[in-house]
Symmetry: C2
Subunit: 202 residues, 2 copies
Amino acid sequence: MARRSDHTRDELKEVILNASWKIIEKHGFSGLTARRIANDIGYAPGTIYNIFSSMDDLYLAVNSMTLDKLYDTLSSTECQAPKKTPIQNIKKMAQLYRAFTKKHRSHWLMLFTYILPKGKKPPSWYQEKITRLFEPLENLLKPFYSEKQSRKRKMAARVLWASVHGICFLEETGKIPLISNQENPPDMTGYLIDNFVSGIQN
Amino acid sequence: MARRSDHTRDELKEVILNASWKIIEKHGFSGLTARRIANDIGYAPGTIYNIFSSMDDLYLAVNSMTLDKLYDTLSSTECQAPKKTPIQNIKKMAQLYRAFTKKHRSHWLMLFTYILPKGKKPPSWYQEKITRLFEPLENLLKPFYSEKQSRKRKMAARVLWASVHGICFLEETGKIPLISNQENPPDMTGYLIDNFVSGIQN
DNA sequence: CTATAAATTGAACAATGTTCAGAATTGTGA
DNA sequence: TCACAATTCTGAACATTGTTCAATTTATAG
């Protein structure tokens, strides 16, 4: 029996989340079970329910971790080089996003394949983490819009990000039939960005 | 006990799929269980396994239905009006896609949230149905590319479709934080199409 | 009518999320 | 130090899931 002084409540929460992260890494989202977590951390299954109200609650917490990591990636200085053109930086950001989908494939997939029970809405802090995700791209789009067009600029960021994501997601789940080996998804996102930004500039 | 002369094998397959379709409509993908299907069609659960090798197999068949319906939608004459501009037709097609995601929300979501067990690839006829899905859009893009650029045109179709899909999917799953009530997803797809096509034309 | 083939059944199994009474552990007040 | 209270943890139990398969029922061929 685990002793209750082993971890504080907060520590235990972290231990559970870290174990979950690794399980997803190895066995995918569907391999994440309460019993497996409990086994890995040396606690009984019931203990998890002292920390999380349900597995859905835990899924949300894991997704929150993924969102944080994704934010770190997108706000990297790599795609904010002042010496490069905005387009180059946007493309770099798309590359970073793509790399993220590869490195944390299962976590990234979970972010989009786990859908809350119908009618349920995520908590507001979760929505805020998503909103925050768009900011780096909003900044990169500043050269193309005046101050007064900030709303339009935000929309452009959403459109562009959703589009890049759409390409990555369909490709990663095998739903974009490749025409040949010549066109790979990086080319596709590049093609998208070139044309979209070119359209903006007109 | 259901009598074996009630339905032929093929009929039974259809009966199962139709029941599944309705269940998903009412209770979502997660509400689709072998026992519920069996109950609805008046057979025992085991019977389903005479027709489908597993529930995964059945999911694939349901998704195949959805793909067929989606193809019918996208190849509608509504978005192939000769009197309208290509852009207008493309926008119409995007609208039709969007309408489909609303009308058959659960089935459409299932198409993307059910991911085959890692390593497993869908059968080739399934891939072909996906490939076929791009053809209507490929045709609408013909005015923008020469005969020799057909490969580029196909890539454009994939990019554009994936992008529109990305917008719809993120919006439908609550992952595009709206800036205000003024920008709704139809506007966003319109914005995307305008700019992308404008970029192509340069 | 009988024997064979085929289709259907439903009990059984392992695994899942979840609950909660009771056991184990720790903190507290004398 | 000791007794009692509060907290934490356990793990058996329950309902449900996909899945299997021997037994049963039904249809057909000879």
